[in-house]
Point group: C2
Chain length 183, copies 2
DNA sequence: GAAAATTGTTTATTATAGTATACATCTGTC
DNA sequence: GACAGATGTATACTATAATAAACAATTTTC
């Protein structure tokens, strides 16, 4: 069962409860069948966009409110279970810690750069901002004609919508955390 | 063909064009089949929420960006084509000018109150704000223990999440515009 | 207490979402 | 000019979304 189907089901059931409505009440307000609403609430259906649109319209709620995970819940991510998504000759390893989520709008990576490695990156599309933090070691960053040297504990924010590259100028592995935010 | 399917198709085609990607490129980035992407772009498919989620994730865009109508287009609404949605004994007529849209979050009504009519409204759920404008005539508004008298050209904003009522104290029909915004 | 109504669940059915594959056309390479 | 590759479209097929209706349990009404 997809997490998103569960989220939609949870949010729909929650708002129905808050308003003390029956499945029949919601069916009338939204023009979606009672059986389908029941399945959606149980997270047992992958509804079409127009069905969710009908529900949001009939209930007078925003579309995205139905896509939110349950409020106040923890979401724990463990770098040990993260996946390698890129590995240039094994010397520049990128791990996805928090994957991109269309509602959140950013993604979170851990990067390991072996000594002397230079990573070149092409410009992303418009509106991408990178936030780079050195966890250990050092990194040299060049983007858009600007240069910066970062040590442990330092963070750099810059536009990823231009060519940029990272370099590990030390003789030990550099560990980085990278947030890519898309606007 | 639903307007929303057209919007999704338009936005997807636009962003694919901006990034100079083929259908095959997008299929690989999103794990949605080329045939389905083609149908979605043509607005010939009513995709499921998880398909759109895959597209938004793979393309690194927000979910709602795919739901937007084409940018910069006019959307004209004519009160002549609006529908009567409520008519208490024919003396209090409510016309939907702009229906609720889950992305916009509000709806727009025209109200006609005959002389002497009192309209009572129960409290809406939490987070509903009413914006009432007198187009012609006058109206007396009571909500949450507060009272206000409005003449032509005056506008009142108040919380619709409490019992409220309108009264036409004159001997002519009052015309009102009402925006209901849901947060 | 009986009957009606309400509520959520289940089932049979239809419509369509979504895919793999084939196809037609166009573009690039030699 | 021939061929390979890329591109978007069309098709056959499977999986499932969505509905109408039936059902079982509970609640409400008299």
């Amino acid at each position: 069962m997809e997490q998103m189907s569960r989220n939609i089901g949870y949010q729909l059931k929650k708002i129905r409860g808050q308003r003390s409505l029956s499945l029949d009440d919601v069916a009338k307000a939204t023009n979606v069948s009672k059986a389908q609403l029941a399945q959606i609430e149980k997270g047992e259906s992958n509804p079409t966009v127009s069905t969710i649109w009908k529900i949001a319209s009939g209930m007078r709620i925003s579309f995205s409110s139905l896509l939110q995970p349950p409020c106040g819940q923890f979401q724990k991510f463990d770098e040990k279970t993260s996946t390698v998504v890129s590995e240039e000759d094994g010397k520049y390893r990128v791990y996805s810690i928090i994957p991109y989520d269309p509602e959140r709008g950013w993604e979170f990576y851990k990067i390991e750069m072996d000594p002397g490695v230079i990573h070149r990156s092409e410009a992303h599309s418009e509106g991408v901002e990178e936030t780079l933090t050195v966890i250990s070691g050092q990194v040299f960053v060049e983007a858009g004609g600007m240069n910066e040297h970062l040590s442990q504990g330092e963070t750099l924010v810059f536009s990823g919508s231009q060519e940029h590259h990272y370099e590990n100028p030390t003789n030990e592995t550099t560990i980085l955390h990278l947030i890519l935010q898309y606007r």
